[in-house]
């Protein structure tokens, strides 16, 4: 079989063999992707009717696009070989992972929630698995569960059973039949047929098995097993299995189907509830422990070495710099810098061997862009503001919301997004700035409406592959894109809903809160809207809803994983009115499949009474492996995870409200700062008073001046 073609699939290698047939790794010569090819055994071939049913079911199953379901691509027949083409999933079967003692409750819950989620999708589509078992569930290296053989395994299995054994006493294939038998619900054994609730029974068996390492209903013979399923109660599971998990399992394993959970969604919700309770109780000490931080008093500075991690934290009353080594377990704090001034934007520029930190400061004295080349020991305080609207614009700068670096090949280029909504650019490392008129003069500008935070251009995304393309996000104007370096801008909001407008899908005017892009997938953008989570796969032309399984699609912050273009972090908040984390639980949500599903990351985060708000720029990722994720709250707490969000620790509390966070890994702190470019333009001379005679101070003042 190896090397042969089945349709347009080349058979590459044998992966395994089961009751149904042999599984091969195959390669799709048309779509150029690896697949799994299940070639159905000749002796288990179906009669023509059954074959038709298999095809129908496989077609139905192929519509089950869900991250926890192994996708079936196709069922085909070539030269008398019937084969099923499916997604190639690399991992271990849950059966193999369980072992003799079972898995920790945390893992059982994590996998259980995903299996239940797969059932929710299938049942919604009217598809029953019919043969859910631990051997049919694969767990990938990063903990993602994939349920295999939806809608086909049992179809073939039952035909095989009927064709070869009829009764469950086959001597020929005892393991296959009995293996399936142990997951069978009483009503199936009675011959009443399988439905959604028999899948929930099987889920109960899988959870029992995963929690304890043994099956709930066992016996030496098939008769004993069947008898146990029909009549006996499973042996109770005590600690370390949480009581809540045992209660869920029991309700799945009620003999009478009508008394079980009614829907897979109920099982999923129940498991999630246990999950958060387990986390609260096992991490109860985390909140009480002292933050892993050395708090320095007064304005202190951090010492930075090569390879150190830095966090730049902007608050409504000043900026802080946090330093740690690559382990990122303990942090030292420098600052506060700019006492009493709001710092809504910070950036680290390590291009061309420099290590410059940028900050915008806002106070009653105006808004300025400041920078330091010595990790905060000295900051620029320019005589005049470099970012200023031209006098013919009629508007004045209110705040700088975003500082974004240009492309790596343009190391002197910087962008600033400001309020009122406009974009400024610098081509001399921030010495001089100019308003990008193409956007400022856009005919839509006068129809943009200020959001709660003012009319701000808060997000700038530079396409790394197209030198003339970039995106901006404006609240509330929406997403705009230029393909010609900023001369022309087009709104890119198709499919993004506006809850607060009569026309729900206008051309522009969306209150977009954040957009992110991975440099390796520049055609794809993710968007957190004022209500709504979206993804675009075509440079923002069209957006699709990806709020699959988040407690709310309202939120502000959104962060892209630096290496995995399918991985995004968000923080759902309860409502437009409340704008705090849902249910008083501080949960970061992560997708690792580009939004097909989201998982809650809670370990180490407070899960009771945590009414927190995380602003749009108050979350960031670092570039370490594993990636560090950090966020700050309006209540002045700073949390971090050095394992991609799996576990969290409180880094600091008692800060002023956190407005922004950025991270940096310092390549070489010893490199001398790049000399600042000499100022070429002289805006001061353009002031109306410059041509006048210089006024004189009195002698008294002059004396003091000396």
């Amino acid at each position: 079989m190896i090397g042969q073609m089945l349709g347009h699939y080349r058979v590459v290698a044998k992966i395994g063999e089961g009751g149904m047939g042999v599984v091969y790794r195959g390669h799709d010569e048309v779509l150029h992707r690896d697949v799994a090819l299940k070639v159905v055994k000749k002796d288990s071939r179906l009669d023509p009717t059954a074959g038709k049913n298999l095809l129908q079911e496989a077609r139905a199953s192929s519509s089950l696009a869900h991250p926890n379901i192994c996708t079936i691509y196709e069922v085909g027949e070539t030269n008398g070989e019937l084969y099923i083409v499916m997604e190639l999933v690399e991992g271990k079967s849950l059966r193999a992972l369980i072992g003799e003692m079972g898995l920790p409750a945390e893992s059982v819950l994590r996998y259980g929630v995903q299996i239940a989620s797969a059932l929710v999708r299938a049942h919604d589509k009217g598809i029953v698995h019919r043969d859910l078992k631990s051997a049919n569930i694969v767990v990938t290296a990063d903990g993602l569960v994939k349920v295999l053989d939806f809608g086909i395994a049992k179809r073939i299995g039952s035909e095989v059973s009927q064709g070869t054994t009829l009764m469950f006493d086959s001597q020929k294939e005892p393991s296959t039949v009995s293996g399936t038998l142990t997951y069978m619900a009483p009503e199936v054994l009675r011959g009443e047929g399988a439905d959604f609730r028999s899948d929930l029974w099987a889920l109960g068996v899988v959870l029992y098995e995963a929690a304890s390492g043994r099956l709930p209903f066992a016996g030496r013979t098939t008769f004993e097993v069947s008898s146990a399923i029909m009549r006996e109660m499973p042996k109770p599971l005590g600690p370390p299995v949480p009581a809540g998990l045992w209660a869920v399992i029991q309700r799945c394993l009620v003999k009478e189907p009508m008394q079980r959970y009614r829907r897979a969604g109920e099982v999923q919700a129940a498991l999630e509830a246990v999950q958060s309770a387990v986390i609260v109780s096992s991490d109860a000490g985390v909140d009480r422990s002292a933050p892993a931080t050395t708090v320095l008093h007064g304005v202190r500075h951090v010492q930075v070495k090569k390879g150190d991690s830095l966090l730049l934290v902007g608050t409504t009353k000043g900026a802080f710099l946090l330093q740690s080594n690559a382990q990122r377990k303990r942090w030292k704090v420098g600052g506060p810098y700019f006492h009493g001034q709001a710092v809504y934007a910070m950036a680290y520029d390590g291009r061309m061997g420099q290590h410059r930190i940028w900050a915008s400061t806002q106070s009653i004295w105006g808004t300025l862009l400041r920078s330091t080349d010595d990790f905060g020991k000295s900051w620029t305080n320019p005589q005049e503001a470099a970012i200023r609207f031209p006098s013919d614009s009629g508007v004045s700068l209110k705040n700088i919301w975003q500082i974004t670096l240009g492309r790596p090949e343009e190391p002197n280029v910087l962008y600033c997004g400001v309020e009122p909504a406009a974009l400024f650019e610098s081509h001399d490392s921030g010495e001089t700035w100019s308003l990008m008129r193409g956007l400022f003069d856009h005919p839509h500008r006068h129809r943009w409406m200020p959001g709660n935070g003012g009319l701000a251009l808060h997000t700038i995304v530079v396409d790394p592959t197209e030198s003339q393309r970039m995106y901006v996000a404006i609240s509330a104007g929406g997403v705009y894109r230029t393909d010609d370096g900023g001369n022309n801008w087009t709104p890119q909001n198709r499919g993004v809903r506006v809850m607060f407008m009569p026309n729900k899908y206008p051309e522009f005017g969306q209150c977009v809160h954040k957009i992110v892009m991975h440099p390796n997938r520049p055609e794809r953008l993710f968007l957190q809207n004022h209500w709504g989570l979206y993804r675009s796969d075509d440079h923002g032309e069209n957006w699709n809803d990806i709020a699959n399984g988040v407690p709310s699609d309202f939120g502000f912050a959104m962060v892209m994983h630096p290496r995995n273009p399918d991985c995004v972090y968000v923080v759902p908040v309860e409502s437009d009115e409340f704008r705090c984390t849902c249910d008083g639980r501080l949960r970061i949500y992560r997708t690792r499949n580009a939004g097909a599903s989201w998982e809650a990351l809670v370990r180490g985060l407070p899960q009771k009474g945590a009414h927190e708000t995380i602003l749009r720029d108050a979350m960031t990722a670092d570039s370490h492996d594993p990636v560090g994720i950090y966020f700050g709250t309006r209540s002045g707490k700073l949390f971090g995870s050095s394992d991609e969000g799996r576990t969290w620790q409180k880094i600091l509390e008692g800060l002023p409200p956190v407005a922004c966070i950025r991270s940096a890994v310092v390549e070489d702190a010893s490199v001398a700062a790049r000399p600042r470019l000499r100022k070429t333009s002289s805006r001061a001379t353009s002031s109306a008073t410059s041509s006048r005679r210089k006024p004189r101070m009195t002698n008294k003042s002059r004396k003091k001046r000396r």
Binding site: I364, E384, F389
Partner: protein, 95 residues
Amino acid sequence: MIVPVTVYIPAPLREFSEGQSKVEIEESPATLAGALAALWILFPGLRDRIATEQGEIRQHINIFIGDEDVRFTGGLASRVPAGAEISIVPSITGG
């Protein structure tokens, strides 16, 4: 004899007035705009902190000529009498 106009500089801005809290201008500016223009030339760093790029006094900065808030006396066009004392006073803001 020219009677100088005195401008009082608030503490947060003194790094731009070489530390001085009081600057005397040997001019006889007729209006507040003229007095401030003279001040900007002596100490350029003060301009962008007191006025916007459109030349307006920033929202939370109050300027008094003597005891009078210029908001009620004509703003930048307010008359500056000889020997006047001009005070730059930040608003008391919350938060």
